[in-house]
Each structure stands twice: as structure tokens, then as C-alpha cells.
């Protein structure tokens, strides 16, 4: 669905990466690997049209992505390396806000199930800033389910997580793959997630 051709990025006269080619189809998981500062986050931001590439084009369903931006946004979930949950509000309130913002029709029992598997159900009434960093990160993944979009763009989803949660996430990725969804994520560490393509930056 997404086709990236000969993408190069230059920022303040410094080349970050050159001639990256990607194609993200349904049922595909792409892992971006690379050292710190190799431009993983930059590439993801280029995909979201936040940064103008210095050369190269991105197509979305055969058309230029730039011209169909909001159509593209309707099908994509982005999770940054920072947590977007509102720290002053409780976990439950955050979930309620998310379901409203993303116009989601997910049922309460579904959310409860996910919270149980992520071991977050005991914190439901606590404020987010009393949670540990790994727990807020897990809470962030709830957005993937609530938004219910086809394409997931994830920036460093595996950092700061314990093995158990990584397994849960690997399982979620598999489920999404079997539902014809596609995922592109960046990571600097080895993991057991079964990816269909690795891109070294």
C-alpha cells in the first residue's frame, strides 16, 4: 500500500540516509534497524509527511501521498517514542478520551481483556503519573487496538519493556498480520518478533 522510492534526506547540509526503498503491503511487517542517530525516527516522520524529503517520492495506494494526506491518516496509527497519555488524568479517563477522539466503537469488555493481558487492570483508577515508565508505554499500545487502523507506524516500541510484555506485543503483531494489517517499526535491539523484511539504515 505504501511505496517508498529512492528516498534521501538531508538536514542542515548533512546526509542522514540515501536511496531507501520500501514497500509496505498488507500482511507485512517491516523492521527498521540502525544505530542511534541513523535516521529511524526521521524516516518514520517522512512517512507521516512531517518532514520533506530532499529527494524521492512516497506513494499511497498508487497516488502521491502528499496529495492524499488525510485519506492516508485515516488508515494509520502512529506511536512515538514518548507517551501521549495525559499524566494528570487516571488511566480510565485516558481510555475514555481516546475512544472519543478516535471515534472508536470498541466495547468495554474488550478493553478490560486487553488491560488484563497487559496487567494494567489494577491501575484503572490511578493517575498516569503514578505509573512506571514501562507501564505508561504499555498503556500507549492500547491505542493500537482503540484506533483500529490498518497501518501501524511505531517508533521504538520495544524499548523499556520486559520480556513478558514483548511477547504480548509480538502476539498482537501476529494477530494484526493475520488480519491483513501492516506494521512498520524501528528498533535497535534484537527481538523475537517475526518480521517479513528488515531495513538497515
Amino acid at each position: 500500500m505504501i511505496l517508498v522510492k529512492d528516498l534521501s534526506i538531508e538536514r542542515s547540509n548533512k546526509k542522514i540516509f540515501e536511496n531507501v526503498n520500501l514497500s509496505l503491503g498488507p500482511g507485512k511487517i517491516i523492521l527498521l534497524k540502525g544505530k542511534n542517530g541513523s535516521g529511524k525516527t526521521t524516516l518514520l516522520k517522512v512517512l507521516l509527511n512531517l518532514i520533506e524529503p530532499s529527494s524521492g517520492v512516497i506513494y499511497w495506494k498508487g497516488k502521491l501521498l502528499k496529495k492524499n494526506l488525510y485519506n492516508f491518516f485515516n488508515h494509520v496509527t502512529y506511536i512515538a517514542d514518548r507517551t501521549s497519555s495525559l499524566s494528570k488524568l487516571s488511566v480510565q479517563e485516558n481510555i475514555k478520551i481516546w475512544t472519543k477522539i478516535f471515534l472508536s466503537n470498541i466495547s468495554n469488555s474488550q478493553i478490560e481483556n486487553i488491560l488484563k493481558t497487559l496487567k494494567l487492570d489494577i491501575y484503572l483508577d490511578q493517575k498516569v503519573n503514578s505509573l512506571s515508565f514501562g507501564e505508561t508505554k504499555k498503556l500507549e499500545f492500547l491505542r493500537l487496538i482503540i484506533e483500529n487502523k490498518k497501518i501501524w507506524i511505531l517508533d521504538e516500541p520495544l524499548s523499556n519493556l520486559d520480556n513478558e510484555s514483548i511477547n504480548v506485543i509480538a502476539q498482537t503483531f501476529e494477530d494484526h498480520r493475520s488480519k491483513e494489517g501492516s506494521i512498520i517499526f524501528s528498533s535497535h535491539q534484537e527481538s523475537e518478533i517475526n518480521v517479513s523484511e528488515e531495513v538497515l539504515l
Binding site: F73, V76, Y78, S84, S87, I97, K100, I101
Partner: protein, 223 residues
């Protein structure tokens, strides 16, 4: 219909956010009243003097206290990435700026609007002048919200010198102060002055989404 739902959910989120930080807004209002006390102590409690310069004092302090809350305008949402999420949810940056401006007007300026009558009692401002002050502040505060949106979006990436944002708002609010205080002293010119204020409002409201949207996009690109 979808866009309407998105707007409603945007304001639901703003409402929840502001409710959890309500003591911040209350602190702003307390700042406003304490500065009134200090003004009165510094010029002496003479009734005539106070009521002659009262309107000017109220306007100055309203301006100062509303610049205090500028930091919250975009900074929090920018730092935790919610601005980007809203954009990915299908709202353009300019539209986010408009929605945020209205939200600032509703949740920060309206409480000030409600506290004006009490300030007028403290400053011996006559009841018929209160109406002029009230109507001028209703328009002026919206202009201040627009200016606040512009200046705080400009200063998102400015880590060193945040006071610059307040200075920008204050320098552009000079004409607003001139015309709004003029409304009270030149009562026969009420209609023409209120039209001028309204004209400024329209200009600023037109500039706001363009300037703020561009600045938001820039800051997100280079963050």
C-alpha cells in the same frame, strides 16, 4: 458529521484537561486580584483617583494575568505528542490552532470575564461603565487568545527565553488597550470604537490559523 464528532471529542479532552488543572486557572485569577490590591496600596485608597484610572488598571492586569497562562497553550500537548496525534486524527494544523484558541477563550478568559464585576466593585467603577468594560473585554480577550496562540506556537522550540512570548503578546495588544480603554472615556463614540475592535479581531483571527499552523508544523518537523 465525522468532523463534528471530532470537534466535540476535542473539546471533551480540553474540558477534562482543564478540569484537572483548574487550580492553575484559579491561581491566575488570584494573581489578578492580588495585583489589584497592590495597585491600590501603591497609589493610595483615594476614591476619586482609583475610579478615574480604574479601567486602565483592570485592562492592564487582565492582559498581564492572561499572558501568565500562555505557557500551557501548546507546550504540554507539544511535548507529549498529542499535537501530532490530533493532526494524524485528521485535523490540519490551522484548524487545531482555531480550536485551541476557542478552548483558551472558553477555559481561561471566560473565568476572567466573570471576575470583572468583582474587580469593578473593588475599584469603584460605576455600573454604566461596567457594561462598556465588559463588552470591550469580551472582544479584547478573544483577540488576546488569538495573539497568545500565535506567540506561544512561535516559541515552542525556544527553550532559552520563554518571556519573549509574553512580550510579543503585549506589544501587539497595544492597539487593543488603546481602543478598549477609549471606549469607556469616549462613551458617545461607543459604536465606532467597538467596530474598530471588532475589525482588529477579524484581522487577528484571520492571521491566527495561518501563523500558528505554520509554526506548529515547523516545530513538529524539527523536534
Amino acid at each position: 458529521m465525522m468532523i463534528l464528532n471530532k470537534i466535540i471529542s476535542f473539546y471533551y479532552r480540553e474540558y477534562k484537561l482543564n478540569l484537572s488543572g483548574f487550580q492553575d486557572i484559579l491561581t491566575n485569577i488570584i494573581f489578578f486580584f492580588v495585583s489589584i490590591f497592590i495597585f491600590i496600596f501603591s497609589i493610595g485608597p483615594d476614591k476619586e483617583t482609583i475610579s478615574s484610572i480604574g479601567i486602565g488598571i483592570v485592562w492592564t492586569l487582565l492582559l498581564l494575568s492572561s499572558t501568565l497562562s500562555l505557557r500551557k497553550f501548546y507546550q504540554d500537548d507539544f511535548e507529549n505528542g498529542n499535537l501530532l496525534i490530533m493532526h494524524l486524527n485528521g485535523l490540519s494544523f490551522g484548524f487545531i490552532a482555531i480550536l485551541k484558541t476557542f478552548s483558551h477563550f472558553i477555559f481561561v478568559q471566560i473565568p476572567f470575564l466573570l471576575s470583572i464585576p468583582i474587580a469593578c466593585i473593588l475599584l469603584n467603577i460605576a455600573n454604566d461603565e461596567l457594561i462598556y468594560l465588559f463588552s470591550s473585554f469580551a472582544i479584547g480577550s478573544f483577540i488576546l487568545s488569538c495573539l497568545g496562540s500565535i506567540s506561544s506556537s512561535m516559541n515552542l522550540m525556544n527553550q532559552r527565553n520563554f518571556l519573549l512570548g509574553s512580550v510579543i503578546v503585549m506589544i501587539f495588544s497595544v492597539p487593543i488597550i488603546i481602543f478598549s480603554v477609549g471606549i469607556v472615556s469616549l462613551e458617545e463614540n461607543f459604536n465606532s470604537l467597538i467596530s474598530i475592535l471588532f475589525g482588529i479581531l477579524l484581522i487577528v483571527f484571520a492571521i491566527n490559523p495561518w501563523a500558528s499552523g505554520l509554526c506548529l508544523k515547523l516545530s513538529l518537523e524539527n523536534n
